[in-house]
Symmetry: C2
Subunit: 213 residues, 2 copies
Amino acid sequence: MQLYSFFNSSTSYRVRIALALKGVDYECVPVNIRTGANRDAQYVAHINPSAVVPALVDGDFQLGQSLAIIDYLDAVYPEPRLIPADPLERARVLEFANLISCDIHPVNNLRVLRYLQDVLKLTTEQKDAWYRHWVAEGMAAVERLLARSNAGPWCFGAQPTLADCCLVPQIANAHRMGCNLSDYPRALAIYRHALEHPAFDAAQPQRQPDYVS
Amino acid sequence: MQLYSFFNSSTSYRVRIALALKGVDYECVPVNIRTGANRDAQYVAHINPSAVVPALVDGDFQLGQSLAIIDYLDAVYPEPRLIPADPLERARVLEFANLISCDIHPVNNLRVLRYLQDVLKLTTEQKDAWYRHWVAEGMAAVERLLARSNAGPWCFGAQPTLADCCLVPQIANAHRMGCNLSDYPRALAIYRHALEHPAFDAAQPQRQPDYVS
């Protein structure tokens, strides 16, 4: 099994956490999205037609989209289960994961920030304000969802789930961009707890073979 | 069961299609996102802490995020199933749905377009170019995914799935914004086929109680 990944991609980071939690051995194949390797014709033709990272290759099956990959991993490596089977628990985990994957991350990813800079010629201040705006709006919603049901130490109880696989990379990104997250104590407590877990630690950007500081 | 929905919200539209395909009776509760009703304190406190549409209320269970809602509906109203059970088929449907829900729709939704206009003071031409850029990039990926596996008449075979619930509102939005979609013939053929289906027709914006032209 290969994971096409970029060390600083938070969607790749989600899948790395899931693979580590499940203890799956895999080969990490770096794809440098800063230089546009994700748009390479061979990559798009043979690995991921969506031209993004991550992509999982399992034998002759290639799969893109981090949440689809984690759902697939839950089917082929069911222990530990990351998306609960119970309909109500499952709904809460998916709601939370989708809040991050649909409402927060996409507007602040590399290709969007590049468009703001290269096409719209925004100043660094404008670009930073954009980033902080969507983090603040999204993290406030994250904190409200956690306030409704979070008892810790993970997003939804005693074991990590897909929700934690999404939260940790999102907070890591926000930290990297210098966002003040002090208004989100529940989310921060989960983040700190997660980084003490070996699987979450192993999935961090600085632990990846393609890491550059 | 109530669906908190806005007629022109494509995420609400996805859930309306799923409910119609399953033949579920529900009450449509309009939330006018143009006037910010989704940020109303009562709505955020009691219906959807994420402060967006759609939200499903099933007895005392409230749930946000369109893909989480459709997954939940598949559990409580399993016929017809919209997310396949087979791991490989399921992975393809989720990959496709997430391409639309994570990579295309979020960067072009109302709150982002308003930020471009109200905060960044973009011209209409710049805003339209932004919209078309992400539609073109995303729809090219949609078409490549369909080229890999699509045999019609739906995205993944003989029956509609979550993939079609996501594709149809995305294309409707792109049409509304005047995008040229002629480079995506597979997607357009599915869209035209879908609109002849009574469930997809009933879910259209102009069939909703809160529709205004």
